[in-house]
């Protein structure tokens, strides 16, 4: 097989890049050594997750890919036994909420991939304020206005801040010389916001990782999320069906295939050789285990963990422990539970701030009063120092998904815990996350028969280390850069990285004299075309919504 570009790994960044290259008219072969799509962003069944964990926790000699994965994922432990109906779960290795406005949503629409996937609005964001106590985070000015808990003065301050954050604040005097100062201090000094309100803004609106995070990027995130509010509903965030990013990656891969890309999964790479002399006619020849056919390409786009072509002269860059500011080591847990969470106060509580509008309407119509709103898709944020035994430095979060996002069977919920590790630690993922897991489970709707919080049916704990940005050995070998580890930014950061990779790839291929070819709808002859956009316009034939 002779192609223009080979893409190694099917994580979101690589899959978007493959789709963009293929749609632009380049010949693409897309490989993944795993038997599933999505690489480190995959959505797995329970059985696949168990295999994933066992393979990475094991120490049996294995491929270079598995060795790389064993350095990327450490401190892996399991508890409980895997529940039946494994295939009805889509468990994400990259639990993510997707802002309604941003690069990923733009790419989904512009590429036509949006039609393959479904999305659900995130129902609630709440902040943990102490044992058994959570407070809703107002996501919009309307929310602030309706909030009964804030004092009038606080409301006015908060409104002033939200107006500022939603606008064009760059260059405003409030921000002067404060762009790099800690956001928490900025909120206090400039908008007189502190305590729980400031914590809610910093950790649950801007999703800051720590109290030292600088002001400008935090404000920019808040602005983006405020503007996302209302596009698809009251929440700025979407959660992808069937485990989110893994399913979205599959959609981009299908689009690449529809445009002619070849797909090969579950084959180890046995060799990558450089053939041809000099920059100009250099090609790479890839051998796959169990496949006679080799693949020859002009350009290699590779995710971390995949082998590079051997390059005798250039020393591979292994210095890379430096990572971008938003990529952290993250302790993660996935737990399957059989009782829903609720962020509502108990029915006898004085104020029930969490009754949704619909529930209020129902109440007005004299129907059964809601007891506690069972959450299907929601996010809980733990600010630093909010939890005894938890981190005093970093904010953690718990995302719950379920049947509403097609990720679990009825009556089961998947809980994802993430804790960025700001300092080196020797504690295990399980030890780091147990307090958060226990605190989250106390928010489960009580069972009539047992008041005790539920135990997870099954849980996996691990620490994920960020990909080191490795320098590529040659202009015709491109490395997918690491994505942000922020739960609200990962999807968009992967997409922005994919767009940058796409342009680099087009440039490198152009330098090698390769131009993309497309077949115009009218006649069957392939013609060379220019690359002038990330996504070419959608063909009419692509559009199934003809009127009838």
């Amino acid at each position: 097989m002779d192609v223009d570009a080979v893409v190694l790994g099917s994580g979101l960044t690589e899959s978007i890049t493959a789709a963009a290259l293929s749609k632009a008219g380049y010949k693409v072969a897309h490989l993944d050594v795993n038997p599933y799509y999505g690489g480190d962003n995959a959505s797995l069944t329970v059985d696949e997750l168990v295999t994933w964990a066992d393979e990475r926790a094991g120490d049996a000699p294995s491929t270079s890919y598995v060795s790389a994965q064993r350095s990327k994922y450490t401190s892996i432990s399991k508890s409980g036994s895997s529940p039946p109906q494994s295939r009805q779960y889509s468990i994400s290795l990259s639990p993510t909420i997707i802002p309604s406005i941003g690069p990923l949503i733009d790419a989904l629409i512009a590429s036509g991939v949006s039609r393959y996937g479904g999305f659900k609005l995130l129902e609630k964001v709440a902040i943990y304020t102490g044992p058994g106590s959570v407070k809703p985070v107002p996501g919009s000015k309307e929310d602030v206005f309706k909030n009964k808990e804030l004092s009038l003065l606080e409301k006015r301050r908060l409104m002033r801040f939200l107006m500022f954050a939603a606008g064009d604040f760059e260059g405003k005097k409030e921000l002067e010389s404060k762009e790099d100062s800690p956001f928490i201090e900025f909120l206090r000094d400039v908008f007189s916001l502190d305590g729980q309100t400031a914590a809610a803004i910093a950790y649950a609106l801007a999703f800051c990782t720590s109290a030292t995070e600088p002001t400008l990027p935090s404000l920019q995130r808040i602005r983006k999320y405020l503007r996302s509010t209302g596009r698809y509903g009251p929440s700025p965030f979407l959660v992808g069906h069937y485990g989110g990013l893994g399913e979205i990656a599959q959609g981009f891969c299908r689009t690449a295939a529809v445009s002619g890309a070849a797909y090969i999964l579950a084959h180890n790479i046995s060799s990558i050789h450089t053939v041809g002399d000099g920059e100009a006619d250099r090609k790479y020849k890839i051998g796959l285990e169990g496949l006679e056919e080799t693949i020859t390409c002009d350009l290699l786009v590779s995710s971390s963990g995949y082998p590079s072509p051997e390059e005798p002269s250039t020393g591979a860059d292994t210095s890379g422990s430096s990572t971008s500011s938003t990529s952290y080591h993250v302790a993660r847990a996935v737990a399957i539970i059989d009782r829903p969470l609720t962020f509502s106060s108990p029915p006898e509580g004085a104020t029930d701030l969490f009754v949704s509008e619909e529930a209020e309407e129902e109440l007005a119509e004299g129907e059964q009063p809601p007891t506690r709103q069972e959450l299907d898709t929601a996010l809980l944020v733990f600010p630093p120092s909010s939890l005894p035994g938890g981190s005093s430095q970093a904010a953690a979060n718990a995302l719950v998904t379920s049947e509403g996002s097609m990720s679990a069977p009825k009556g089961k919920w998947i809980l994802y815990l993430s804790l960025p590790l700001l300092d080196a630690t020797t504690a295990s993922a399980e030890a780091l996350l147990r307090p958060y897991l226990d605190a989250t489970l106390t928010l489960a709707v009580p069972d009539a028969t047992s008041p005790a919080p539920p135990k997870p049916l099954f849980a996996v704990f691990y620490i994920e280390h960020p990909d080191a940005p490795a320098a590529a050995p040659s202009p015709s070998v491109l490395r997918a850069p690491p994505s942000s580890t922020l739960i609200s930014e990962q999807a968009d950061s992967a997409t922005a990285n994919a767009e940058a990779l796409f342009w680099k790839a087009a440039e490198a291929l152009g330098a090698a004299g390769i131009r993309p070819k497309r077949t115009p709808e009218a006649e069957g002859e392939e013609v060379e075309v220019d690359v002038d956009s990330f996504w070419p316009p959608l063909d009419m034939i692509d559009d199934p919504s003809e009127d009838w």
């Binding site: 406005i101 733009d106 393959y116 698809y232 979407l238 529809v258 445009s259 002619g260």
Partner: protein, 256 residues
């Protein structure tokens, strides 16, 4: 339609149908015949549409097929789980002139039973039956005039337009054998010719009759209240968000 969009939308239901089968058995050609009533003799391996749609009328109901092609992802066994998700029907195609393609079809049926929705309606289609028929007996039932696309066919599947005596000898899969397997496995069975159109409309019509339309409509209504209206997508049927609904607003913020 006389009753206008709202009336028909009320009774229409969208059905995802996936195609499976070995390379070059004519999966895309069967669909192209059904959707556009066309046949291209020298069709390239599938490159093209995300999926094709075609409506199918059944008495008082309209079924709107959303037909997914493998896009070549079956070649190295790399079909994504997404491909099977929510598929209510599948057509597994083999080539009557190639025995191994029926074996392959059987493995796809197994894969469907493992991966897909348990209530999926599966049809087995033995394609290229035109190659094993004496040319004189080309079926009168063919709904298609086959005027174009016939010539310039030197490199097409060997055995084009065989003399009537040789025709049956090209057959490697006896109809009875495939039919018996289909019956045993609970599949609908047809022999088809994408070239002449034989069996193609019947194939999709019989599938339509077996789709539990009322059940789908009921569950769709339960989920979203308004599914089945024009423009609804797979996502809409599940009570999700349609990303394209507010696409205009997104353009403002996009820097392209």
């Amino acid at each position: 339609m006389a009753d206008g969009a709202s009336g028909s939308a009320e009774r229409s239901v969208q059905v995802k149908l996936v195609l499976l089968g070995e390379a070059a058995v004519g999966k895309s050609s069967v669909v192209l015949r059904f959707v556009s009533n066309e046949f291209q003799a020298n069709k390239e391996p599938t490159i093209g549409a995300a999926f094709l749609t075609q409506k199918c009328r059944l008495e008082d109901r309209v079924l709107r097929y959303e037909i997914w092609d493998t896009a070549g992802q079956e070649r190295f066994h790399s079909l994504a789980p997404m491909y099977y998700r929510n598929a209510q029907a599948a057509v597994v195609v083999y080539d009557v002139t190639k025995a191994s393609s029926l074996d392959k079809a059987k493995t796809w049926v197994k894969e469907l039973q493992r991966q897909a929705n348990p209530n999926i309606v599966i049809a087995l289609a033995g394609n290229k039956v035109d190659l094993v028929q004496p040319s004189s007996s080309s079926p009168a039932a063919s709904p298609t005039p086959e005027s174009e696309d016939e010539a310039d066919d030197a490199t097409a599947t060997p055995g084009e337009a065989p003399a009537s005596g040789e025709a049956e000898s090209l057959r490697q899969v006896p109809r009875e054998e495939a039919e018996a397997y289909a019956q045993e496995a609970g599949l609908l069975f047809f022999e088809t010719s994408a070239k002449t159109g034989e069996g193609v409309v019947e194939l999709f019509t019989e599938i339509a009759k077996k789709i539990p339309i009322d059940q789908i409509l009921a569950s769709a209504r339960g989920n979203t209240g308004r599914t089945g209206a024009a423009g609804s997508r797979a996502a809409g049927q599940e009570g999700g968000v349609n990303l394209e609904e507010n696409a205009a607003k997104g353009k403002e913020s996009c820097n392209c």
